[in-house]
């Protein structure tokens, strides 16, 4: 089994629901985004258009981050998911320089969402569980998957633009979508063999 995700850019409306669901699920501190939505405008009036690109860790099969990690903190977990063991991470940040998708964040100088008011009870319960001065990233919601649930960004996508499944199973919905709609990956030239596919808008 090789877990992967398909993001249908035709369905995505850029609502940031995935980003917020991820924040709520993992309680990531400010400055750490496991899931993010990039928006850019392209062209000029009257042919201007908005590009919406939801991004996350691509859980590459030949992950450059795993290769460069000196401690083995970045590793392949089960079903091809790339994860970080925070207890092994020394915070050298070489993985951040190696990730062609820039989807790793260094958790340092932990801030509060409400500045001088100090951490809220929610932040104390959630953000503080993350080890400081280590690199963090998406793990396809390991805990949710252990409970048989889909990743939070998938379950909470209002437009059903995110589909999660087994890329090795040719009968799975993700495999079918990639085949039928010519799914593509970002930066294929990196040779990282990512497992997050996009469907053209």
């Amino acid at each position: 089994m090789r877990l992967g995700m398909v993001i249908d850019l035709k369905r995505c409306m850029g609502c940031y629901g995935c980003q917020m669901a991820c924040k709520a699920e993992h309680g990531t501190p400010p400055g750490v985004f496991f899931a993010r939505v990039i928006k850019r405008e392209e062209g000029q009036y009257p042919t201007a258009r908005q590009i919406i690109l939801p991004v996350l860790c691509n859980h590459c099969s030949d992950a450059p981050c795993v290769e460069v990690c000196p401690t083995g903190a970045s590793h392949y977990a089960e079903h091809g998911v790339v994860d970080i063991d925070p207890e092994l991470c020394v915070g050298c940040r070489s993985c951040m320089m190696a990730c062609p998708y820039s989807n790793r964040y260094f958790n340092v100088d932990q801030r509060n969402y409400f500045g001088d008011e100090g951490p809220t009870a929610y932040e104390q319960a959630r953000s503080s569980q993350h080890r400081e001065s280590v690199v963090m990233k998406c793990n396809f919601c390991k805990d949710r998957r252990a409970e048989g649930k889909e990743p939070a960004c998938v379950a909470n996508c209002a437009a059903k633009a995110r589909i999660f499944g087994d890329l090795e199973d040719p009968t799975s919905i993700v495999s079918q979508l990639i085949k039928d709609r010519a799914g593509f990956v970002l930066h294929p030239e990196s040779g990282a063999n990512p497992n997050v596919y996009y469907l053209a808008p």
Partner: protein, 296 residues
């Protein structure tokens, strides 16, 4: 601007500079790379030219470089874990190399200071061999660390390791020039010729690297070149790398060769090397996920 606000601004831009290596506490990594580069080069050239004082200076630079590397890490208390992935990680190889250098070099210097008899010759040779292996690893690993960084197209170049090796040798020459002046002797004339030759190689490599990045199809690499030559890093590049590191020592080398002038050449050259490393590290720009349109 604080770190968080800067990140939010960067994420909204087409080109996002890497700020983890080279800014804030990240400067410690650049200092560390500079120090261990000079350490490796000095050890190598001290062996070639038989300069005993050079071994001590190299060792001190290596130890300081190791310390600054540790200070850069998020969790230096578990730095020993960096030995775990020597098979694929250049950071891991560098850690092992520096450890070998400090262990072997320390033992070699201790034996040198104690002036023990021929009975200890085998151990001295072993220590020297281990230290040299460590020095060579340290000289080589830095450039490969950057080349392995696929997110930063400007660094992801096969020339980067060669450039860093050449800079380490140049750093070694600079250290020997200063050591000669401090000990009140005139440095070996060959050293100055070597400095000219290595500087020429370094300049050539740097031009090739800039030219390669500029003519590549990669927009992020081009942006980095723009930053170096005409952007946020232009002052550091022209003032530090070019004027301080190349023009000043070149002018001094044509003057009368006194120990003081030789030392000034060494110091200016070393300062230029530091600024070159700082410039290229800070010039790193992440590969954009959305290719910016030509309008921007």
């Amino acid at each position: 601007m604080n770190r968080y606000d800067q990140l939010i601004v960067d994420l909204g831009n087409d080109y996002r500079p890497q700020r983890e290596w080279g800014e804030g506490r990240g400067v410690l990594l650049v200092i560390g790379h500079f120090l261990v580069g000079v350490a490796g080069g000095t050890w190598l050239l001290s062996t070639v030219f038989g300069v005993s004082a050079g071994f001590f200076v190299a060792y001190v630079f290596g130890a300081l470089g190791g310390l600054t590397h540790l200070m850069f890490l998020g969790h230096p208390e578990v730095a020993f874990k960096m030995m775990r992935n020597v098979r694929t990680s250049w950071v891991s190889r560098g850690f092992v190399g520096l450890s070998l250098f400090l262990l072997g070099g320390g033992l070699y210097l201790a034996l040198l200071l104690l002036q023990l008899g021929d009975a200890w010759q085998a151990l001295r040779l072993l220590a020297q061999g281990v230290a040299m292996l460590g020095a060579l690893t340290v000289i080589g690993y830095m450039g490969f660390c950057y080349t392995a960084s696929k997110a930063i197209p400007f660094w992801h170049s096969s020339l980067h390791p060669a450039l860093y090796i050449a800079y380490a040798v140049r750093g070694g020459i600079a250290a020997l020039l200063v050591i000669a002046a401090v000990t009140g002797t005139l440095a070996n004339a060959l050293l100055l010729q070597l400095w000219v030759a290595v500087s020429a190689i370094v300049t050539l490599f740097f031009i090739f690297e800039i030219q390669g990045a500029w003519t590549s199809a990669n927009v992020a690499a081009k942006w980095s070149v723009r930053d170096v030559l005409a952007g946020r890093l232009a002052l550091t590049f022209y003032g530090g790398t070019l004027a301080m590191g190349l023009i000043v020592p070149a002018l001094l080398s044509s003057a009368a060769q006194t120990p003081l002038i030789m030392a000034a050449i060494g110091l200016a050259s070393a300062a230029g090397d530091f600024f070159m490393k700082l410039t290229t590290v800070k010039a790193g720009v992440y590969l954009p996920l959305v290719m910016p349109s030509s309008r921007r």
